[in-house]
């Protein structure tokens, strides 16, 4: 593989990893509050179809993204209401989001299946002046679109928020020990609601980005395609740390792209289906390796992840 092919493949990996990174960041923020939301796939899909419909109706990229974010937030809010207020099982509730979100977005998207996005609404490349001329790195990192750059800013902000601010500290304490946080006067359920919804917003944006930048026309099957589930695994992979989530997303972006790169290079010995399995199998291997190397510490998971908090029952 020569230099330019490598740069091209890595650039494609960054682009393919961006929706993953956005969704993983969202899930990371949610999980830091102690709420496990397995509904990422559902939120992404509903975000994507809402974005598509709004983009088709208005032609506005910004409006469409906002609508996608709102759709993700709405589903997340349902999850929050179920798992925080009504103390439902978070795992089942998250899966309900996947099923409901998939059903609803297929239902909404059926009439426009295969319809292309209006060209004006598409997110196009915006190269960074000066930096784009860097040898190699310029082509990999700085000839992308605005959402890619925004993802870096977002990752930095999330890391700052989590580890350098008081609300971030409050968030982490609620995820680690809600009873203690409650005793300290923190509003456990409010904090959990807010961060579950923020997570939903990011997943909605991830779906919006998929349809606005990556998929040429609305197609239920080709849009998320299980990316939401990989995003959930990425959070574990990243030990609940934002920068690692971003890096992980790009690694998985590379795995997602390897398919095309190998086909382009004329490798036919491995069937396409098996190449497509690679990201999933890789995730499973990493998870198993992580748990084998860190039996005691649960690999940095928030202590209260997945548990409802009821003051009178503690």
């Amino acid at each position: 593989m020569n230099d330019s092919v490598l740069a091209f493949t890595l650039a494609a990996a960054v682009a393919a990893g961006t929706p993953l990174a956005l969704a993983a960041l969202g899930e990371l923020i949610t999980e830091r509050s102690g709420i496990l939301n397995l509904g990422v796939e559902g939120m992404m899909l509903l975000g994507a179809v809402t974005t598509f419909l709004v983009a088709s109706a208005t032609g506005s990229t910004a409006l469409a993204m906002l609508a996608g974010a709102a759709a993700g937030a709405a589903l997340a809010l349902a999850h929050a209401a179920l798992s925080i207020s009504l103390r439902a099982n978070q795992i089942v509730s998250g899966l309900a989001l996947v099923i409901f979100g998939t059903g609803l977005s297929t239902y909404l998207g059926r009439p426009v299946e295969g319809v292309p996005l209006p060209p004006g609404a598409r997110i196009t490349r915006t190269s960074v002046p000066l930096l784009q001329d860097l040898p190699f790195l310029g082509r990999v990192l700085f000839q992308q679109d605005l959402v890619v750059y925004a993802t870096w800013v977002l990752t930095a902000l999330t890391a700052l928020y989590l580890f350098r601010t008081r609300p971030g500290l409050a968030l982490r304490s609620v995820g680690e020990s809600p009873a203690t946080a409650d005793a300290m006067g923190l509003r456990v359920n409010t904090i959990r609601y807010v961060h579950t919804v923020i997570g939903g917003v990011l997943c909605g944006v991830a779906g919006a980005y998929l349809i606005l930048a990556r998929v040429p026309a609305w197609s239920q099957a080709a849009t998320t395609n299980g990316i939401g589930f990989i995003a959930i695994a990425l959070v574990v992979f990243a030990s609940w740390r934002p920068w690692r989530a971003l890096l992980g997303a790009y690694i998985f972006g590379l795995a997602l792209r390897a398919n095309f790169a190998l086909q382009a290079a004329g490798v036919t010995a491995i069937p396409a289906e098996f190449l497509a399995m690679a990201p999933y199998l890789l995730t499973i291997l990493v998870l198993i390796a992580l748990s084998a190397s860190d039996l005691r510490h649960r690999a940095g998971a928030p202590e209260a992840l997945g548990l409802a908090y009821a003051r009178e029952e503690r």
Binding site: P271, I284, I288
Partner: protein, 422 residues
């Protein structure tokens, strides 16, 4: 579509003093009456129908017509009921698969993939055996193969969970995608024995020999799989209530520590329960191949039967008898999906999936009514008339609806936001 958020449990410290909660509160029920157990799921289904009606209305379809067609297609005629039972057959089995693992708080979300592999194994067995053996032998061997296929697919997540505590939710979930790619490869991407060699342009599965087809009842499409599924429900119920294994499952489900102290071999139990769960899902795949599609057919298998099993188990409140009933109800909903497309205004059949999801959401939400008694604010003597006056919200809450505490003033909240630092 979002569930109500206002009527939530109070989490606000009643600033300083200890008082009875002044707003909506939940009190755990000591025992649950039968009426509540029946009324709550019915309520959940009704609410789901109402919400879905809203979506139908918004997208320009008439909900009454849609629901009438659904009922007529699935429950009002002999053949409708038969088709509903056909749809219910795999749901009973995947519902049981979810049930056994959820009972011990293990989360096998991979019934979908285990079902595919069960189908692969059963079809492979049938194709290998050919016409040599009698049908009953074939059927039994296919079911065994299906169970083994499902078990094989869950083996790695189960071993990793039992020995390394690897999160089984994610591993089983991801394997669903792998399984789908695998069956697609068997039919579309390779020259495997599962593929019909004569299907050129549009590859499809090789038809299983006639001797391997599950018998059907009369002229309907209801097949032996239904009997197998109901039998499985009975067996699961017996195991749960009458055996040492079931007792250990209960102990383990209550508390892993308690189970360990009581001498339950935790690792072995985790492994066994997950394998059992995989086997049940695999049998569902075998029944689909043997009774319905009669070939390995990715498009008729990959319709979310495994995920729907989770809905079935949750709605049935992890009760084997309930699983059968709920599976029939949901089978009807799914079966009706296809009938909808024949309507003049072509309602997309995904209404059925949307309805499924909505039913699950509301079933989960209303579960709270089973576990808790709601104490309405007006049903208690109010001891603080100042409550709710001058409600200023002091957090950085982005969502107005998410902010639950009108009782705390801004200063309190600001203080509490900084409290964690100390």
């Amino acid at each position: 579509m979002s569930a109500p958020t206002r009527d939530r449990v109070d989490d606000t410290p009643p600033s300083g003093t200890i008082r009875a909660p002044r707003r909506l509160a939940l009190e755990p029920r000591q025992e649950v009456s039968r009426g509540v157990l029946v009324a709550v799921p019915v309520l959940a289904v009704l609410l789901a129908l109402i919400v879905s009606a809203l979506f139908l209305r918004l997208t320009g379809h008439d909900p009454v017509t849609v629901y009438r067609v659904m009922v007529r297609a699935s429950f009002a005629s002999r053949f409708g009921i038969a088709d509903t039972l056909v749809s219910a057959t795999p749901l009973i089995l995947t519902g049981l698969a979810a049930l056994v693992s959820f009972r011990v708080r293990l989360w096998n979300i991979g019934a979908e993939g285990q079902l595919y592999l069960g189908a692969v194994a059963a079809a492979g067995m049938a194709l290998l055996l050919g016409d040599r053996l009698a049908t009953p032998v074939n059927v039994v061997l296919m079911i065994v193969a299906g169970a083994l296929g499902g078990m094989a697919w869950i083996a790695i997540p189960a071993l990793a969970r039992a020995w390394l505590r690897t999160n089984e939710i994610i591993t089983t979930l991801l394997l669903n995608s792998v399984a789908l790619l695998f069956i697609n490869w068997l039919i579309f991407g390779s020259r495997s024995i599962w593929r019909d060699p004569d299907s050129g342009q549009f590859p499809q599965g090789q038809r299983i020999p006639a001797a391997a087809e599950f018998p059907r009842f009369g002229t309907t499409r209801v097949h032996l799989g239904l009997l197998v599924a109901v039998l499985a429900a009975v067996v699961v119920w017996l195991v749960l209530t009458r055996t040492r294994f079931g007792f250990r499952m209960r102990v383990l489900g209550d508390s892993e520590d308690a189970a360990r102290y009581a001498g339950v071999p935790v690792r072995g139990m985790v492994l066994a329960v997950l394998l059992l769960s995989g086997a049940l899902a695999g049998i569902a795949g075998a029944a689909e191949v043997g009774g319905l599609s009669r070939r390995l057919d990715p498009s008729s298998l990959a319709i979310g039967l495994g995920y729907a099993g989770i809905i079935v188990a949750a709605l049935a409140r992890l009760n084997p008898g309930g699983v059968v009933l709920v599976a029939v109800l949901l089978g009807g909903v799914r079966n009706a999906g296809t009938a909808l497309q024949s309507l003049p205004d072509r309602v997309p059949m995904e209404v059925a999936v949307m309805l499924e999801g909505a039913i699950l959401l509301f079933a989960l939400g209303s579960e709270v009514l089973v576990r808790y008694r709601i104490q309405w604010p007006w049903s208690r003597p109010a001891d603080d008339p100042a409550q709710g006056a001058g409600a200023a919200e002091g957090t950085d809450a982005a969502e107005g609806a998410a902010d639950p505490a009108p009782g705390v003033d801004a200063a309190d909240a600001a203080e509490s936001a900084g409290g964690a630092a100390g």
